[in-house]
Symmetry: none
Subunit: 223 residues, 4 copies
DNA sequence: AATGAATGAGCTTTCATTCAT
DNA sequence: TATGAATGAAAGCTCATTCAT
């Protein structure tokens, strides 16, 4: 469902005893998929184990509790795509306009297609039950994510590409729709009849960036 | 899985409907609050009853099961704010620009402040476990919501206020950040340390609408 | 097995809903019997419930955990027989010899026949797993129990009935065998073939007290 | 329940007995310590292995099950101190008084200090769960132990050292406090605050034997 | 109509035991 | 022989639901 190579490995050793190193991430992948699909509380520990191809008890060889598994899932998944795309933006030295039209849509489409997209739903759903997720998420995702976008916008303003806008608010204008599309993908979007409901998310992302870019650009008359 | 339009089915039997209308809306309010805060699965039926000030057994006098309570909560809450704001937009006959700068922000702030804002989180969180919510939500919220925004945008284009843009995509640009802010309010935003994380949502909404409006307006140069 | 009226009550209301007040002590009685027979760890919570005539879940209506049930059993059972017999000794004002030949054997036979006899085994068995039992037991049983016996012996010495002996040690000489007989009753003594192993405990108690009494008395030659 | 003399049955097949003798007595020592401390049921097989310095699987190379390990522990530990002390008493040919004042206290202090002292607790605790322990214990410990003490007392009576007392009961008077002190050592006595609770067990044993000896001796007036 | 004691299916977690290495 | 990853039966505990009052 959420992709990742949960099952694709090792059809040659069908029974007991596989590799201890691979187990944790197989379990994490299975857990991410199920926690995102059904919610943490509605997912049984045994389901996670089954989807990872192991028995119930094996799960507890690697994680002390279901809750610790959740925390590990979040920690594990956050590390990947977000920081990675951020890196690309930091290394970019072209015009801000160019970054908005080329870098951002590419990065966000990757996020949308990756398992990280599921994480947004997971965090939104579970923070209130596990408040220490909030701090971790804020520090690892929200702050650095917004910071890099705000820096980009500020650069555009400094270079004269953009009007002097409320940079903080504008960053939200850019980011929030993509997160919302990720959430949608893993909720209503995953239900049968809602397929035609939202048009191709790629089209929406690119269109959105164009629209905001135009709103930002300096050479239009002010409101 | 089971039925498809379970949520709507009861409006087909208006006989006992009266009794259901009379059902303590305290229970529905309590359920909305708790389901949103902790998730459906993690909320105990007794908690709902307690918060509503009645005993556990009383809940089952009005709802046959916890699941039926969830459906009732969604049905009950959707009826209010969404349809109401839609009405206001339909009755509006001024310029599209005016609608975007005055009507929309006002309505959305009302939604943001109302219990309806919680509903977005609830639906996002629970659709995959209760697929018939999807149909109901799509028909009652997504479709009419997008339709009215798209109509507004189309009107703006027809009147020459806006450039000819991808109306469907632009509607998402307008709507998604708003919904995302509602979700945020009930998840990360409700956690202690994340207060300063996101600036005042009202400022973000107004700023966002201004930005998109500029992007839509005809008198700027095309990309 | 260990007696007490666990089942003897209420054959008129065979199904649900009995008296809330009676439940806890029915459960405590059942728990004492089973914990003593099989040990705390080897006793399943459901067994306790079954023997008390209720369902598994009902147990948890009255005790938060199996461990808390254990503590409650100990607290509840200690209160009765020990303190009671102690009272009798304190109120006795005849000769120490008389107390040893009449009061003590009567009291100890009562303890031996009562459910309290089981408690010795339970405490011996479980203190090391639940160290706070130790403090409670020391303060409620060991200290007051030894104190009253030592006072009795001291009185005998002061009155010239007994030789001046090591009062503390002599108290142990008196008390330890009876406790040991209680332990035996609930361990080896409860097994089929061991019935003839230990002669009638009453005979042993009375004989033991006679023997020690003679050893204490002043008019024999010193060693 | 199942067999009756399971514990003894293996001494009937002396073929593989050699192998069992060779089994790491570290495992048996570790098991005795842990079973005594926490009880059989509350001790995990892996703990035993760990304390013996081997891996979990190794334990099962030597013992087919945790239960068989328990039986082996009891068999192994009984062989040593009890039979040994018995031997010394049988070989003693001085006066009964001398035996009581010199032989017995020495032997019992050895038992008290040896791992055998733990065995009393183990048997008391577990007989009811493993009834065939009872037969083994009765035949190997209780009967020979009481027999030798009773013979000693009878000898004392025959020689005119002791009054003609109830030999069976008097044997219990001598033995029970000693066993009780062993139990105490491994239960309440092992807990922090109970150290001062019971005075030095050596003093109690010696004092007890003196007291009983005086009660037995012929030259005091009858009751 | 309202209550809350009682129930038992169901879930999390543990641990004796196995077996591939 | 020794290991320890894997298993799954079994135990503790929860909670949706019922029903006598």
């Amino acid at each position: 469902m959420t992709g990742q190579s949960v099952i694709m490995s090792e059809s040659a050793t069908p029974h007991r005893q596989r590799r201890k190193e691979a187990r944790p991430s197989e379990l994490l992948d299975a857990a991410l998929a199920l926690f995102t699909e059904k919610g943490f509380s509605a997912t049984r520990a045994e389901e996670v184990a089954q989807r990872a191809g192991v028995a119930k008890g094996t799960l507890y060889l690697y994680f002390n509790s279901k809750e610790e598994l959740l925390k590990a899932v979040i920690r594990h998944t956050l590390s990947s795509a977000v920081a990675d795309g951020r890196q690309r933006l930091l290394e970019h030295h072209g015009s801000a306009t160019e970054a908005l039209t080329e870098l951002l849509p590419t990065w966000w489409e990757e996020v949308y297609d990756s398992p990280s997209s599921a994480l947004f739903k997971l965090v939104i759903t579970e923070v209130r039950n596990f408040p220490d997720i909030a701090e971790f998420y804020a520090q690892e995702v929200i702050q650095p994510g917004l910071a890099v976008i705000q820096a980009l916008l500020q650069r555009g303003i400094d270079r004269g590409e953009f009007r002097p806008v409320d940079v903080e608010a504008a960053a939200h204008s850019l980011v929030l729709p993509i997160i919302m599309l990720c959430l949608h993908k893993h909720s209503v979007g995953a239900c049968a009849l809602a397929e035609a409901m939202v048009a191709d998310p790629r089209r929406i992302i690119r269109s959105h960036l164009q629209l905001v870019l135009r709103g930002l650009q300096a050479h239009s008359s002010s409101s």
